[in-house]
């Protein structure tokens, strides 16, 4: 070894990047299973509902069912991929493999671990969403290409919000079984009641109100008119996005607080 040891110089951004790259290398090692679950699965859904249900429903308001369901599918893929990655896989790294402890013994700070996890989980959602955009574009499922382009960064931002909720579950779960709460009270209602397949206006009033809790409903409300090429109320876009961001900050803070307690006690 050299006489003047090179110890490296870590920075906050460098630390987050190092954690992101660690996840990326693992992802490359399990490339095919990752592609099947992250990309192929949402595409299957898109085809099943876009063409299957689309053959029956044809029209929702002024737009075709395909144009209606594509933004819902994009939002849902983003939601599932990002919040799932921050749930069971993060939990495995946190509690089973003790990966975070290994990271913290290196010159990384806890906040970088949290940001790195959220950023990585969000990246998986972004990748899924991107693939759906491309497939939808290829099958003429986007009513407005410029609208779709504007909606993409909003979807990407929302992925960080979805990931943060996953990380809350990771922070609070005692065992894997606790993730039933995550699926039953988060994934399923986000898919069924937030306007992915059907106009949420079809549901009873109280349910319509209650589901505003779910950020994915806000995201669909934002990107559906954008992708379909309908008129957009930009004030409402700003308000919906503000909710999604507020949701992210609250969840990230809750998750960080709880995880720090478990790691540093």
């Amino acid at each position: 070894m050299s006489t003047t040891p090179e110890r490296g110089r870590q920075t906050m951004l460098g630390g987050i990047a190092a954690i992101w790259m660690r996840h990326y290398r693992v992802w490359l090692r399990i490339f095919w299973p990752s592609v099947v679950s992250g990309i192929l699965n949402p595409i299957l859904f898109l085809f099943a509902f876009g063409f299957g249900l689309g053959a029956v429903v044809k029209q929702v308001g002024d737009i075709s069912y395909l144009h209606f369901v594509v933004p819902g599918m994009i939002a849902n893929a983003a939601l599932f991929q990002s919040s799932f990655e921050a749930s069971i896989p993060s939990y495995t790294r946190f509690r089973i493999q003790r990966t975070y402890e290994a990271m913290l013994a290196a010159p990384l700070f806890f906040r970088e671990v949290v940001y790195g996890e959220i950023l990585w989980a969000a990246s998986k959602g972004v990748l899924s969403a991107l693939c759906l955009y491309l497939v939808a574009w290829a099958v003429d499922g986007l009513g407005s290409l410029s609208g779709a382009l504007i909606s993409f960064p909003l979807v990407a931002l929302s992925c960080a919000s979805f990931a943060s909720l996953g990380l809350v579950c990771t922070a609070y779960a005692r065992t894997y079984e606790y993730f039933s709460f995550f699926f039953v009270f988060w994934i399923t209602p986000s898919l069924l009641f937030c306007g992915v397949f059907v106009d949420p206006a079809a549901y009873p009033q109280w349910l319509q109100w209650a589901t505003w809790f779910f950020p994915v409903k806000h995201l669909i409300e934002v990107i559906r008119p954008l992708c379909a090429g309908l008129s957009v109320d930009w004030t409402m876009v700003a308000l919906h996005m503000a909710y999604i961001m507020a949701f992210m900050f609250i969840c990230a803070a809750m998750a960080a607080r709880r995880m720090a307690k478990k790691l540093f006690d």
């Binding site: 090692r29 493999q97 290994a102 990271m103 290196a106 010159p107 540093f264």
Partner: protein, 299 residues
């Protein structure tokens, strides 16, 4: 003058009503090989975690490289290599990738990482396994890889928490050789163990702790001289009649009794020629058992 690497003074740590560390003071100077010796539950791991800044002391002071441990920054952390007791290798990565990725956590440049990884794989005799899955490694190889990982940033201080627990003798000997090689490179080493032979063989100075307190500290020789007689006779029962009249300190450990004495000839003369017994020099284990008692831990 040698620099002080770790300075603990009246260090305490409680978890609720339980006090794991009850006022521990010690000092580790540059280039020393220090053993923290104690039974399970003595407070060793808690002390280690405090040194790493993972747990905040509830009282006393603990400075690492002159900085209070719970405020150590990247600069200090980069100078410490930690070998934790529990395996936290990255099972999702290969042997080689484990080292490479860990190097990126330190912000090391790519070419430095590549060079160090090769050196460390050779140093820990893992070169042939470099493409293997970590999950497929034996316990001894995993330990070696964790040690290699701790060395990726060429640390000044290496902290090892029971690095050889559960390993076979060959694996232990290899690790001992490597630790001595690190010491000769001038690194400061803090080792916790409950293997006396390990501590006696490796450490310049030993700190015996139990129940969250320092019982004594010194070189292995000093500790033996201070606490136990020079010779130990292990006698099978039944014991010869009248031996108690010799007034030799003894300890009953079941089918055998241990007799501690400085006058070996006097005791040997008393024993009949056909008696089966073992006469050995006193070792650290005798010190340890005298200091910490024979009561079983974690009951």
């Amino acid at each position: 003058m040698q620099q002080t690497v770790i300075h603990a003074d009246g260090l305490r740590r409680s978890f609720g009503a339980f006090e794991a560390v009850k006022g521990v003071s010690f000092q580790v100077s540059e280039g020393q090989f220090i053993g923290l010796l104690g039974p399970n539950g003595a407070g060793k791991t808690t002390t280690m975690r405090m040194i790493m800044g993972m747990t905040k002391p509830s009282g006393g002071t603990l400075d690492v490289f002159g900085v209070p441990s719970h405020t150590i920054g990247r600069g200090e952390k980069a100078r410490i290599g930690l070998v934790p007791q529990e395996d936290n290798l990255d099972p999702d990565l290969s042997v080689r990738q484990n080292l490479e990725v860990y190097g990126t956590y330190f912000g090391l440049p790519h070419d430095v990482i590549q060079e160090r990884v090769d050196t460390l794989l050779r140093f820990m005799e893992l070169s042939e396994k470099k493409e293997n899955d970590v999950r497929a490694l034996s316990g001894g190889m995993k330990r070696r890889l964790i040690i290699a990982r701790a060395l990726i940033a060429d640390p000044d201080l290496v902290i090892l928490d029971e690095p050889t627990t559960g390993l076979d003798p060959q694996a232990r000997v290899l690790i001992w050789q490597r630790l001595l090689a690190l010491k000769s490179q001038g690194k400061t080493i803090l080792l916790t163990t409950h293997y006396m032979d390990e501590a006696q063989r490796l450490c310049d100075r030993i700190i015996v702790i139990d129940g969250g307190r320092v019982l004594d500290e010194g070189s292995p020789k000093e500790l033996i001289a201070r606490h136990v007689e020079e010779h130990v006779f292990e006698l099978q029962k039944p014991l010869p009649k009248g031996i108690e009249k010799l007034d030799i300190r003894s300890e009953d450990i079941g089918d055998t009794a241990l007799f501690y004495t400085d006058d070996a000839a006097r005791l040997r003369n008393f024993l009949k020629a056909d008696m089966v017994y073992l006469h050995r020099p006193a070792n650290l284990e005798d010190v340890f058992l005298k200091l910490t008692g024979r009561k079983l831990r974690e009951v």
